[in-house]
Amino acid sequence: MSDRSQLISTGEPFKFDQERDTEFERLIKRYPERESMILPALWLTQEQEGWISAEAIAYIADRIGTFASKVFECATFYTMYHLHPMGKYHICVCRTLSCWLRDKQAIVDYLRDEIGIEPGQKSEDGKFSLEEVECLGHCGTAPVVQINGEFHEEMDVEKLTALLAELN
């Protein structure tokens, strides 16, 4: 894993919108301790903004009443939290065993050529970002690609071409 501790600052104060605010208040009642809300609050932020800024981490810490360092720890520990803006379509390709056995590399290579970015990068027009991820729990239908959270199984270059054509 690469260093995730270089947070990005927006320069704007962060705040939950009405919907997340309500959801935050609903969820916090489900736990006996407020700190349990750290992960859910990071999720709410990512849902709202697409990524998590330094300001958002500070906001969550203050809202929960805990140390910013603790929220910072979680934001950097859990790799699904995006700490910088992703592309409009965030493409995750599983790189682990069963997908590797079923040639996930062809998928990665294709995407690299087609979109022109390496895993970990975002295309200049902001349309795509690419990431290699660990086993997605769909090994029986390998290789697997997840785009904005949606699973695409038994992928091959042909299917991928069709899929990319649909995204705009």
């Binding site: 501790s5 947070l7 330094a54 981490i57 910013a68 360092s69 910072f72 950097t76």
Partner: protein, 511 residues
């Protein structure tokens, strides 16, 4: 007395205290188990794996000593080859991404990792692939500088800020071997005990901006002392050194463990108060701004006494009991009222629920024990009637501003007996230098009524006298320490059994 139990270490029976973990229990009888993450003030975390020991019979064969309570009949294995190999192996993992450039590291000489490396490994690295790189020289605030590459991720610093100061500025971010200690951007260390993380850090990853690279630790001498920064009286180690052709200088104060006074820590202000021992010191006597010898200063003082229409003596609440009793006797001899007025030393609301006290006086309890009046009214009344003030190191400027001081001293003669060359004492007609608290032996009583003694740690090239001795030179009747103790015993009931030699190093709780 704690309950004792018997267990075996490497087949030898030892008697240890029950209820402690193996590191502390058998450490107390002199058998050291290597460890990095465990610290008695912070509890066992179990992450460094340096403390793995074998257990024969029953239970898992390999346990972290920090997490294992000592138990009756336990058979602990430390020196078996396979255990030594494990220590060696874990150390190797600890070292593969470590710079191991001890010669340029500030911690060298007091580094656990370096010590263990010498003891358990000492071999050439087998790491032929590139090391993990991280950031160096990071300003964490409060004068703490962090080097992520030297860090062994023991988490002591993080736990300190969460458990002890409850300020939580530090965290370990990321995971895998890219994990590192960090502050959240814009929220640096911000607590009054922060520099303790430097002492806690078992390696050179946390350094003090104040001390970094000023001295190699093996050149310094260590002496025990008691901080005079407030009425807590934290125990300290005074690290000092006299470099060639120079004076004996203090390079740092570090906390010294004392369970009933300060535990393992001290505050940052107290830690930095060593500077006052080195700087702005009054080194020579002065009469009307002209340097004079001590002899002349004493003669001049005696002349002042004779000339004066009424004398008042002011004493500092930082003075040791010995100094207090000497000065009290001098006052009696001179028939002068004695005041311990020092309201300025009390900073209301500055203290906390941990170590720091509102009262910045080291020995106010001593004033009380010796029945020395400390009221403002008594002091001001006495001064109004007197022509001469003899001020034994009492920092009146903590209470009066400059114009009030001028008013107060108007048409008065002032003799200052002091260790500090400050504005206040520059207003005096005559000043006599004395030793500061690291330069004399004495006893003080802290905020919890604990009597502590300390010995002279520093000997300056031109060592100034102890205030007690100055009091004697000025006509005080108590000439020796013996005289002083006798008198103390007489006037202070709780000190009836006072014998400074029998006071334990950890202090004596007075009742």
């Amino acid at each position: 007395m704690a309950e004792m139990i018997k267990l075996f270490v490497n087949g030898n029976e030892v008697e240890v205290e029950a209820g402690k973990n193996l590191i502390d229990a058998i450490g107390a009888v002199g058998i050291e188990i290597p460890h990095l993450c465990y610290h008695p003030a912070l509890g066992a975390d179990g992450n460094c794996r340096m403390c793995l020991v074998g257990l024969e019979e029953g239970g898992p064969p390999l346990v972290p000593a920090c997490k294992t309570p000592a138990a009756e009949g336990m058979k602990v294995l430390l020196d078996a080859d396979h255990i030594k190999k494990i220590q060696h192996d874990v150390l190797e993992f600890q070292l593969i991404n470590h710079p191991v450039d001890c010669p340029v590291c500030d911690q060298a000489g007091e580094c656990s990792l370096q010590d263990y490396y010498m003891t358990y490994d000492g071999q050439k690295s087998r790491m032929t692939v590139p090391q993990v790189t991280k950031s160096k020289k990071m300003d964490f605030g409060c004068g703490v500088v962090h080097d992520q590459e030297r860090c062994v991720l023991c988490g002591r610093c993080v736990r300190f800020c969460r458990q002890i100061t409850r300020t939580g500025e530090l965290g370990i971010v990321n995971r895998t071997d890219t994990a590192r200690v960090a502050i959240f951007p814009g929220r640096p260390l911000d607590n009054r005990y922060a520099v303790n993380v430097v002492d806690l850090c078992p390696v050179g990853a946390m350094t003090s901006a104040d001390f970094r690279f000023k001295q190699r630790v093996w050149f310094m001498k260590k002496e025990r002392g008691v901080c005079h920064g407030c009425s807590r009286g934290c125990n300290i180690t005074i690290d000092h050194n006299r470099e060639k052709d120079q004076d004996d200088l203090i390079y740092r104060f570090r906390p010294l463990f004392n369970e009933q006074v300060n535990g393992y820590f001290i505050c940052d202000e107290g830690r930095l108060s060593y500077r006052d021992e080195n700087e702005n010191r009054l080194t020579e006597a002065r009469l009307s701004k002209t340097t004079i010898s001590l002899d002349r200063a004493v003669t001049a003082s005696l002349k002042e006494f004779k000339r004066a229409e009424g004398i008042v003596i002011l004493i500092s609440p930082d003075c040791s009991l010995e100094q207090m009793v000497s000065i009290k006797s001098l006052a009696e001899e001179l028939g002068a009222p004695l005041s311990g007025f020092s309201d300025g030393y009390i900073k209301k609301g500055d203290g906390d629920d941990y170590l720091i006290q509102d009262d910045k006086a080291a020995n106010r309890a001593g004033l009380t024990a010796l029945n020395i009046d400390s009221s403002q009214s008594a002091f001001e009344e006495a001064l109004a009637k007197a022509g001469l003030l003899i001020n034994f190191n009492n920092d009146l400027s903590l209470f009066y501003d400059e114009s009030s001081l001028k008013k107060l001293f108007k048409e008065k003669r002032v003799i200052g007996v002091t260790s500090r060359d400050t504005k206040l004492f520059q207003m005096a007609n005559l000043v006599i230098p004395v030793a500061s608290f690291t330069e004399y032996s004495g006893s003080i009583i802290n905020c919890d009524n604990i009597l502590q003694t300390f010995n002279r740690a520093i000997t300056k090239n031109d060592a100034p006298l102890d205030m007690s001795e100055v009091a004697a030179l000025l006509g005080g009747p108590l000439k020796t320490n013996g005289d002083r103790y006798d008198k103390l015993k007489k006037i202070v009931v709780s000190l009836n059994d006072f014998n400074p030699d029998t006071i334990p190093a950890t202090g004596l709780k007075l009742t």
